[in-house]
């Protein structure tokens, strides 16, 4: 029973969602299932918030390793929750929009949350540099091709590429670095991406059929019955 009910739900929902794409009468049911998903997701937020508080409160209570980070998490969570729930400092009062200009929630979002997110995002620039350094070392023929292609793309996307090869006559314009960069992007790069996308599409179809038909049950934590 513990296995059969989830498999049955998967079969019914999966079949209806597929049919809703092809048969207009079932279209509405597909939309309904999407709404059901959103409703369940709302409850999941409550469960998630509760779980977060319980785990970190427990860590603080037991003074486990790095419990200070948990204090920051719990205080931040509760403070943001209170600011949004009780609409603290909201110029329009309790009936106003939660993100009304001047409200504590909006101020915290703009001046604390956004800069923190931007800081994490900014790390990406440094990580791209370090990953590129490792990937572009000409250790073998494949890495050398990658290095040359990336060098052409880098130059082609800057004015330097045009300055360096702009003198090449129009009849040989493909040898101009910006044009070579465009060719790499729209021919070998796009061809490779399309091959991967065809494979992904077939993989999704195959995986979906395995799940809907109950052949694949690893999402239940078991390989087979």
């Amino acid at each position: 029973m513990k296995r059969n009910i989830p498999v049955a739900i998967t079969f019914i929902v999966g079949t209806v969602l597929i049919l809703s794409v092809f048969f207009p009468p079932v279209e509405r049911m597909g939309e309904d299932f999407s709404i059901f998903f959103d409703i369940i997701a709302v409850f999941a937020f409550f469960l998630g918030g509760g779980n977060l508080l319980r785990i970190h409160s427990d860590k603080i209570y037991r003074k486990q390793k790095d419990w200070g980070f948990s204090v920051v998490t719990v205080v931040g969570f509760c403070f943001m929750l209170a600011a949004g729930l009780f609409k603290l400092w909201n110029p329009g009062g309790i009936a106003a929009d939660v993100a009304a200009p001047g409200s504590l929630f909006q101020l915290m979002y703009n001046w604390i949350f956004n800069p923190l997110g931007a800081t994490m995002y900014a790390l990406l620039a440094f990580y791209v540099a370090s990953a590129s350094y490792r990937a572009f070392r000409a250790k073998n023929i494949d890495a050398t091709i990658l290095l040359v292609a990336s060098f052409i793309i880098l130059l082609g996307r800057t004015p330097l590429g045009m300055y360096a090869t702009g003198w090449i006559p129009e009849s040989f314009s493909i040898l101009q670095i910006p044009n070579m960069a465009i060719w790499i992007m729209v021919s070998p790069n796009l061809a490779g991406q399309r091959a991967i996308m065809i494979g992904i599409a077939l993989g999704v179809v195959s995986m979906s059929l395995r799940l809907i038909l109950g052949v694949e049950r690893t999402y239940l934590g078991v390989d087979n019955e």
Partner: protein
């Protein structure tokens, strides 16, 4: 989260290490992209896991996670169906499941004939796509070079089969 816990618990039972499992291993962090990255990076740096698995849909967080894992010396296995994130995983991880391999992995590891059969089906699908591409290329080339309504029709038909219309 209950489903995730059940899955992990069953996996521990399957491996005969149910004693090593506890519910707090599976926990909610956040649904915010960079808040999640900050938390997972922190866990990786503090707990220094031996292996990191990145499987599923990833966006800008892919390289931040993979490079952090690389900096702590963990063996990294990634798999995603997001073509834009694949280069980052290939550059930063030890092994990468590229596109369809992510979906084929569980079937391949299970060794079940029925699941392996679905992989054969994928291969047949790829073969059909190859044939359609060759017919389309041939039809487009001939129609451009010499004209002919049949080849235009052939090219358009093949294109229509593989075009998603909203």
């Amino acid at each position: 989260m209950t489903t995730a816990r059940e899955t992990i618990k069953e996996a521990y039972i399957g491996a005969g290490r149910v004693d090593a499992y506890n519910d707090d291993m599976v926990r909610y962090i956040t649904d915010e992209q960079f808040g999640y990255v900050a938390a997972v990076d922190g866990i990786m740096v503090r707990e220094r896991p031996a292996t990191c698995f990145y499987l599923g849909a990833f966006f800008a967080e892919s390289l931040i996670l993979a490079e952090t894992g690389n900096s702590i010396g963990a063996i990294q296995i990634a798999g995603t169906a997001m073509p834009t994130q694949l280069p980052f995983f290939v550059a930063a991880c030890d092994y990468t499941l590229i596109g369809e391999e992510l979906f084929a992995a569980s079937a391949y590891l299970s060794g079940e004939p029925k699941q392996l059969g679905s992989l054969k089906g994928q291969d047949v699908g790829k073969f059909m796509a190859m044939v359609a591409i060759l017919i389309g290329v041939f039809g487009a080339t001939v129609s451009e070079a010499w004209g002919g309504s049949f080849f235009f029709w052939l090219t358009d038909t093949v294109r229509a089969i593989f075009t998603i219309q909203n």
